[in-house]
Structure formats: C-alpha cells, structure tokens
Amino acid sequence: MAKTFTRRDFLKTAAAAPLAGAVLPRLSGEPAPLAPSAAPAADRVRVVLVRDPAPLGAGGAPPAEVVQRMLDDAVKALLGESDIVKAWKTLIRPDDVVGIKTNAWRYIPTTAEVEQAIKRRVMDAGVAETDIGIDDRGVLRHPVFQRATALVNARPMRTHHWSGVGSLIKNYIMFTPQPSAWHGDTCADLAAIWDLPAVKGKTRLNVLVMFTPLFHSVGPHNYAKDYVWEYKGLVVSLDPVAADAVGLRIIEAKRRAHFGDDRPLPMTPHHIALAETRHHLGVADPARIELVKLGWDDGILV
C-alpha cells in the first residue's frame, strides 16, 4: 500500500503545517494550528468576507436591499472596482448564457434574496433575462443550464455527514448524473466535478452564503436549530476553494466557541485541501489567501 496519511503523521505535523491543521483532521485535545505566515500579496488569492447586522427575515436572509449592498460591496472589493456594473461587466459578457447554481436544501437554502441580487447584476452586465437560469437539482434538465456559457455558484456552507461540510466545490455535484458516485472516500474528489464539460471553465463568481450557517450535524436530516447561528455574512471569491477554506475556518471557530474545546468535524472535509493539492482547482492554504473583511465585525471569528 502506498504511503498514507495517518493519525501519527497528524501528531507530527499539526503544529507546524497550517494547511494540515485547517483542513485535515484535527484530533480532539490537540491544539489549533498557529496563525499562518502570509505569502507575498502577489501570490495570494483574494476572498472577501462581508457582514451586516440587519435582522434576518423569515427566510433566513437580510432584507433584499441589504443583500444587494453586501454583494455589491464584496464584488467591488474583490475586483478592485468602484463601479458595480463595470465590475460585473468584467465577469459577464452580454452574449453569455448564465446559470446561477443555487442550493435548495430545505433548512438553509441559498435564499431568493441572494439569487435575485446576482440575477440583477447579471442583467446589468447586459444579459437578457431569458438567458439567465436559476436552479439546483434540475440543472441537467434546465434549458438555460444546458446552453450556459457562464455560471455563478452560490450556496450556504453547512456541516455535512459525509463530506464534512457542504461547500462551493460540492455545489456542482448536481451537474453529474449520479451524485452518489462522488461520495467515495468521504467525497475526496469532488473537485474533479469541475472538469466535467457542463461546468469546466465556466464559473465567473463564487458566493458562499453564511447568513445562518450550520456548525454541527445531527440525525438523518443533518439539521438542528440549536446548531445554527446568525453570522450574517457572504464570502465571495473567484476561487471556490479559497472561499470554502475561509468558510471552513469560520465553522471551526464557531465550534470551538460553542463546545468550549477544539472539537474537530467528525468527517474531515478533506475535499477542500485535496481540491488544491490533488486537483489544482484553487487555493486552500490560508497562507496564500488574502482575506478582505468588510462591514460588521462583531463575532467575526476570523
């Protein structure tokens, strides 16, 4: 058998390797990794975290105008552009056919407010409304997604029984005819989905919704209200792996704050680290992520 990462390797490397500590199994009782030393700015991938304290509505989102402002502020900061329409025109062309890949999970969906905020800016970039689709489980049958030239990936982060966390990387599993086939080795190779023709090279923006993240899974349905909290954030990046890595740090920090110990996720979300190291989809190493924080910082956790 080829060399494999074992519990002993973790014990040897945890304090020395920020990546291993952040996205590989962290064992109960072991100290959290030290803060990473940053790589030079030019080598880092930008992720923007924006938060707003506005009360959430019944659907779990802030008011529509607040969501629009949060998304706009994040995209402008991400792209270094002061005009929001100009910013979106660098992402989307008028002749694009755009699929907004949402997530319809019953308990914590993407939310209509996020979907519509994205749709509005896609239309501002010149795309006709008939060339915009919003879907989750029906993407393979959706006529807009079937001819899509561009995708915007938007979903909430939550803990997950098998993959560790439901992530932006995992959000594209519905572009496969048999999602269950990607669960092997606790979803290690989800990033390979991004090489499929239906999605390869099409993603223009990633939005990780952190309005009410789930930080601990229980029961067959994965959900208990006790383990959801109002973080009221969006994590936005061109790099889905980097956005997921930031979201994971937030989830892990919340778990430490709630449980009072450094309790690792029961199923390690190694698909995020492997998205970088094995599949080269993006950057998971915190030392190579430039995290820009906007807005409300009470309880920010990172």
């Binding site: 014990l11 098998w162 208990a224």
Partner: protein, 282 residues
C-alpha cells in the same frame, strides 16, 4: 424519487402511527439503499455502510407548528440496527426500544432490525412530548427484539466506557469516530464487523474478518502503515507519548490505541484474546 411500497415497506409503515396528537401525517415516502440520496443526500452513506434495506419516511404537519418527521429504517439485522444507532450516541437515554438517545428535538432508537429517528424541526415542550410519544408507540408496535453484535463480548470490562461503544463495517465510519488513516489500512469492508471502545483516553479496536488469512493481511497492512518500527511485541510508543499495539488471533485483529503504558496495551490485548478463546467468534 420515492419508490412504490414493497411488502417490507408496508410492514415498516404499519409501525408508525397515523397521527401525533393533533398533527396529521402526509403521504409516506419510501426509499431503498440507492434512492436514499434523493432524500437525505450524504447522510445516506452512513446508512448504506450499515447495509440498510429500506426507509419509510412519514412527515406530520400541523399549521403554525413545527413539522415532525419519522424516518424508520429496515437495517436488515439487529446488529446493523444497533450499529447505526451507535453512530450518534449524543443525548440522554429515553428508555425507548433496545437503546435510545434524545437531544434537541431528535430521538433515535433501535429495536430488532429497525432503526428509527423521530425528529421535530424545532424543539418546543410540545414537540418534545410528541416526539417521545411517537417513539414509544413505534417501539411498542415493533414485535420482536434482536441481539447486539457478538463482537461486543470481546471487550474487556475493566475500564470500559460501555455506553460509548461503536459498531461498524467501514473505515470511513472508523475515521469519523477516531481518525486512524486516510487509507483503509485495516482493510475494513462490508464483510467485516468491527467495534471501537473507549478506555479512558485510549481506544480498543477489534475486528472480525471471517478467516485467519484475511485477519493476517489486515494486521500486516496496519502494522506496515502505522507501526513499522514496532518490535516483536507489536507495540510502539507513538508521537504523543502513549502506546499502540496490534495483535491477531484466528480471524480477529485487535488494536489498542493510546494506552498509558506498553504493559497496559499488551494486557488489554491479552484480555481480548482470552475472551475470544472462551467464545465462538467468526
């Protein structure tokens, strides 16, 4: 996509009451090991790893109140019903079925070959009472009881925290409870039965492989990946200053993780195989 009810599904559905207080039930959804992903996504892998045969899901609704959901699994054997119950032991014993736990609106229990989850989408005093009542009524409707896995008898009682023992077949589930290695170095699979038991800060792993040759291969694989420096005793002091030891006997492999001393590790292995010699284990 839900499937038409089979006779087994109709039997399973018959255990579930039609009403829960003033809550009324909706149409059942029926799933098998392939279609369970349509219902509970990745969580389905947990139940598949325990050989689930079928699932009947019944939702109870009352306007203005949180929904209640009953998920009744036919696990095919009492051992696997017990096993999937041990996957999540968080909560207080509700004295329902042959083992139960309740926390935050979720009741789970096992009885005979069935594992049942009763879940309130929001916990209130009212929904808690209904969840527990539903659980009791379902447990009462299941006619038989089943035996816990025989492998549990090989766990030495001295120092054992019996309420936290896990039974499983897959290395992913092992890693869920106690990360050992990314690869399946203990060669676990659908045909292996395994237990993981806490002894203070240490763990005891025991697996039955069905044949001595298979156990020997598993022992060699684990030793090569995890304890290559171990001596003839099969024990090694690892990076955290504690002791890990492996031994095989017949179709069994036992591993002690994180014992306080070499003596403790070896004594625990001695105790496992002494118990095994006194019993017939496959």
């Amino acid at each position: 996509m839900s499937r038409p009810q089979t006779p087994d599904a109709r039997l399973l559905a018959s255990f579930i009451p039609v009403t829960a207080g003033p809550w009324l039930s909706e149409a059942d959804q029926v799933f098998d090991a392939e279609t369970v992903f349509d219902y509970i996504d990745g969580a389905g892998e947990v139940y598949r790893s325990y050989n689930m045969r079928g699932l009947v899901a019944r939702r109870f609704h009352k306007d203005g109140r949180p929904d209640l959901v009953v998920d009744a699994f036919d696990m095919g054997s009492a051992e696997d019903a017990f096993g999937v119950f041990t996957h999540d032991l968080d909560g207080e014993d509700a004295a329902i079925g042959q083992g139960s736990a309740y926390k935050a609106g979720l009741l789970s229990f096992w009885k005979d070959r069935y594992f049942v989850s009763v879940y309130a989408e929001e916990e209130t005093p009212e929904t808690k009472a209904l969840v527990l009542d539903l659980g009791r009524r379902i447990a009462a409707a299941i006619p038989g009881t089943g035996e816990r896995p025989a492998l549990l008898a090989l766990l030495p009682p001295d120092g054992l925290e019996g309420g936290r023992v896990r039974f499983f077949h897959s290395h992913a589930v092992l890693n869920y409870h106690f990360f050992v290695a990314e690869a399946n170095v203990l060669l676990l699979g659908p045909e292996t039965d395994a237990v993981l038991a806490p002894y203070g800060s240490g763990r005891l792993f025991v697996a039955a492989y069905g044949a001595p040759a298979a156990a020997a291969r598993a022992r060699d694989s684990f030793a090569a990946a995890y304890l290559p420096e171990a001596g003839a005793s099969g024990a090694l002091r690892t990076e955290n200053g504690r002791w890990t030891a492996v031994r095989t006997g017949g179709a069994l492999v036992a591993v002690v993780f994180d014992a306080a001393s070499e003596r403790e590790a070896l004594d625990r292995l001695d105790a496992v195989f002494a118990l095994a010699r006194g019993r017939a284990v496959r």
